[in-house]
């Protein structure tokens, strides 16, 4: 009986996926469910909770700081996609090209930043973008006679620092995705194109880019989520969750401020649910737009 069960071809697949299902239920479905529940509650210290209906969501809609956080996160997401898709793709093509020398060196050099901890990197970037005339960036600008800039106190300059950090850190990772995508483009296509007299640029736009589409979709998908859920970078860059005029506040940062710093778990849960809905909507729209849901032919 036991043996028959164990060797059963029908049961085996379920046994294999069981660990994943369990983890998924325990660490995803259950917390999600309880977050949805919490978002309709007012929870105070001492574990007392009361149902308040949509009060948390109503408050969110009129909360200027929350809207600011959403704006910051969305702008950050869009800008990271604008930077972190084309440039890594270009670098991947360059590194993959036949005439590239020291290929492995550049690969690892690009990838290295991803291995450093965000905490360390964020702290270093904070010092680099410091407002004193002795900080790295300002002393560099000083060479051109530019007055010291208070980078981390202004909206635009603050985002420059934030994007510099993101670009430095993630270019290498995205480049690796594209490199592995490039390896799967058969050499024949390029040969055929060469015979037909296609230029390098034409080969890039007509063969490489379309053939990299699945990788691009994947990179965009994870970038949307990573951009909207960004938190530690901002926290480290501003040495805490309270940046001047909230220029670096993100959705997750606001969730953290409400839930952990102000122990208002119910309100924080509603922030989390809004983040989930926004991220999900953007991702699904993007995937539908790029045709990922079409039946395979």
């Amino acid at each position: 009986m036991v043996k028959r069960f164990l060797y059963s071809q029908k049961v085996a697949p379920y046994v294999f996926v069981l660990p994943f299902i369990l983890v998924f239920l325990l660490f995803w479905v259950y917390p999600l469910g309880s977050s949805v529940g919490m978002s309709f509650q007012k929870i105070t210290l001492g574990q007392s909770a009361s149902w308040v209906g949509f009060a948390n969501y109503a408050k969110l809609m009129g909360d200027g700081i929350f809207l600011k956080a959403v704006m910051n996160s969305v702008v950050y997401m869009v800008l990271t996609i604008v930077i972190l898709v084309p440039f890594p793709m270009l670098f991947a093509v360059l590194i993959n090209s036949k005439w590239m020398w020291a290929r492995e060196f550049f690969k690892s050099a690009f990838f290295l930043p991803a291995l450093t901890s965000v905490v360390v990197a964020g702290t270093i970037f904070r010092l680099m973008f410091g407002e004193m005339d002795t900080s790295l960036i300002n002393s560099f600008l000083g060479l051109f006679g530019i007055e010291p800039i208070k980078f981390l106190k202004g909206q635009t300059t603050g985002f420059i620092a934030l994007l510099a950090l993101a670009t430095w850190r993630w270019t290498g990772v995205n480049m690796l995705y594209f490199l592995s995508g490039l390896k799967n483009i058969p050499e024949d296509y390029y040969e055929a194109a060469s015979i037909d007299g296609a230029s390098s640029f034409q080969k890039f736009t007509r063969i490489t880019v379309p053939m990299l589409k699945p990788t691009t979709i994947y990179v965009i998908t994870i970038s949307i989520y990573a951009g909207l859920a960004m938190f530690i970078e901002s926290m480290m860059l501003w040495n805490g969750n309270n940046s001047p005029k909230n220029i670096g506040l993100t959705i997750v940062g606001y969730l953290y401020r409400q839930g952990i710093e102000k122990s208002d778990m119910g309100y924080a849960a509603s922030v989390g649910i809004v983040l989930l809905v926004v991220a999900m909507a953007i991702n699904l729209a993007q995937l539908a737009f790029t045709g990922m849901f079409k039946k395979e032919d």
Binding site: T44, L45, G46, Q47, S48, K59, G62, D63, G64, I65, S117, V119, G130, E131, M132, K150, K153, Y177, S180, G181, N184, P214, T215, Y218, I222, G240, N241, N242, S243, P244, K245, N246, I260, E261, K262, S263, M265, E296, D297
Partner: protein, 442 residues
């Protein structure tokens, strides 16, 4: 073809997932167990703090406690964590009822959050009672709710002015002649003209200056019922004075946003700013972080708007609490009261930490306050307690209310930045801040 792609993407996403798992960051803080001469059978208590020096104070008091109470000896496990980390961890531990220490330090700015709902802290009334008459009542009230005292105070935190006499002498300014902000302005303009240096800072990330301006006018951030009023005429007037000083090149913003930050210590240490008005405890920062200024800093009462106004207020503060989940609540409470409120403790708080103790009797103990071996006494040009005793009766109190954390947050991140970084109109900035605070507190 497409299948193959799916497999690759799947593998890639698994790699990212696993890799994400490996990136867990550990921030456990620094722990050490203080024996304090305790025997094997001593009870071990756990203590969390965000200031390493507080641990040193507890070590001294622990030795005294264990010697005096052989039947109730204690070992103390001290864990030091960064400010935000410690408060956040403590808040989660108390909320879940698991993992909280027996004793913890909570900073006054965070304290109201821990008093929300049913406080998960033990009332200290019975152990405070024996010391109650000797300590400043207003410092106890900061950590109370509904007649229960939940925190043992550390210091009064009387605000004083600290002047860099080296810079002032270069500019030919006599700091003892500065009584009002008008005097301060004239002195500051002279300093800027002669040395090119700024007289002081315009703070954007902390409310020390705003509190000071309110206290001088006998006002607060909240009304008597505890409702926030940050657009009061008094605060508008106070901040307008500061903004005017900034426009006259007397004040300037500083890296870090306020004097009590790492960046600002460096700026002061280099001699880029000639003065700061800060609570008494800033003395320990001078001694520890601004070694180059030793022997140059003179202490004086802060300037006022009009003569006769109160010349100080109690700023900052840390309440030591005993949690509901403490292993031995009574023992922890007795020890906290002994280590924070007894006369010995108050003397040690000055000796070790350089704070102005809540037992004001200590302020007039000449052998303690004028001890030539004391590193704080050696650092400053004049004796801090001489100044302190001069202004003793005019130390105002800024209330700590449930609205305080929100007020601190909105003013300290937005309004003050708009006023001093962007030059925004004070009234306009404060009206907006008031609206935002009310909205947040709904």
């Amino acid at each position: 073809m497409k299948k193959k792609w799916l497999v690759i993407l799947l593998v890639l996403s698994m790699v990212t997932f696993l890799w994400g798992c490996g990136k867990s960051s550990s921030s456990g803080g620094k722990s050490s167990v203080l024996e304090g001469g305790a025997s094997e059978s001593a009870t071990q208590l756990e203590y969390w703090t965000f200031v390493e020096l507080h641990g040193q104070h507890f070590q001294k008091m622990l030795e005294k406690w264990n010697a005096a109470h052989p039947d109730k000896q204690i070992k103390l496990k001290v864990t030091v964590m960064p400010y935000d980390d410690m408060h956040n961890k403590l808040s989660i531990a108390l909320q879940t009822g698991q993992g909280a220490p027996d004793i913890a330090d909570i900073e006054v700015g965070k304290f109201p959050d821990f008093l929300k709902g049913t406080p998960q802290l033990e009332p200290l009334n019975d152990v405070i009672e024996p010391y109650k008459d000797t300590i400043v009542q207003s410092r106890l009230n900061m950590y109370s709710k509904d007649g229960n005292y939940y925190g043992a105070p550390t210091h009064v935190g009387a605000a004083l002015a600290f002047y860099n006499t080296e810079i002032l002498e270069q500019a030919g300014v006599d700091y003892t002649k500065i009584d009002t902000w008008d005097d301060y302005k004239k002195a500051g303009q002279q300093v800027y003209e002669k040395t090119g240096k700024y007289m002081g800072t315009a703070d954007t990330s902390a409310l020390w200056q705003a509190s000071m301006m309110l206290a001088e006018q006998g006002k607060d951030f909240t009304d008597d019922a505890g409702n926030p009023v940050v657009n009061s005429p008094e605060l508008i007037k106070g901040l307008t004075i500061l903004q005017d000083l900034q426009k006259s090149n007397v004040l300037a913003t500083i890296a870090g946003g306020q004097p009590d930050t790492e960046e600002a210590y460096g700026e002061f240490n280099k001699g880029n700013y000639a003065s700061m008005m800060m609570p008494f405890w800033i003395m320990s920062r001078f001694v520890n972080y601004m070694p180059d200024l030793k022997g140059k800093i003179a202490i004086a009462p802060i300037p006022v708007i009009e003569k006769g106004q109160p010349r100080s207020y109690g700023g900052g503060g840390t309440g030591t609490v005993v949690t509901k989940t403490a292993k031995n609540v009574q023992l922890a409470k007795e020890f906290v009261a002994y280590a924070k409120l007894s006369l010995d403790a108050n003397i040690e708080i000055w000796n070790t930490l350089g704070f102005d103790p809540v037992n004001m009797e200590v302020w007039s103990m000449k052998d303690v306050t004028h001890n030539p071996d004391n590193k704080f006494i050696q650092y400053f040009k004049n004796n801090p307690f001489d100044v302190l005793n001069e202004i003793k009766d005019g130390i105002q109190q800024i209330k700590s209310t449930p609205a305080s954390p929100t007020i601190n947050n909105v003013l300290g991140t937005t309004a003050l930045n708009e006023i001093f970084e962007d030059g925004k109109d004070v009234t306009e900035a404060l009206n907006e801040a008031q609206k935002q605070i009310e909205q947040q507190l709904q």
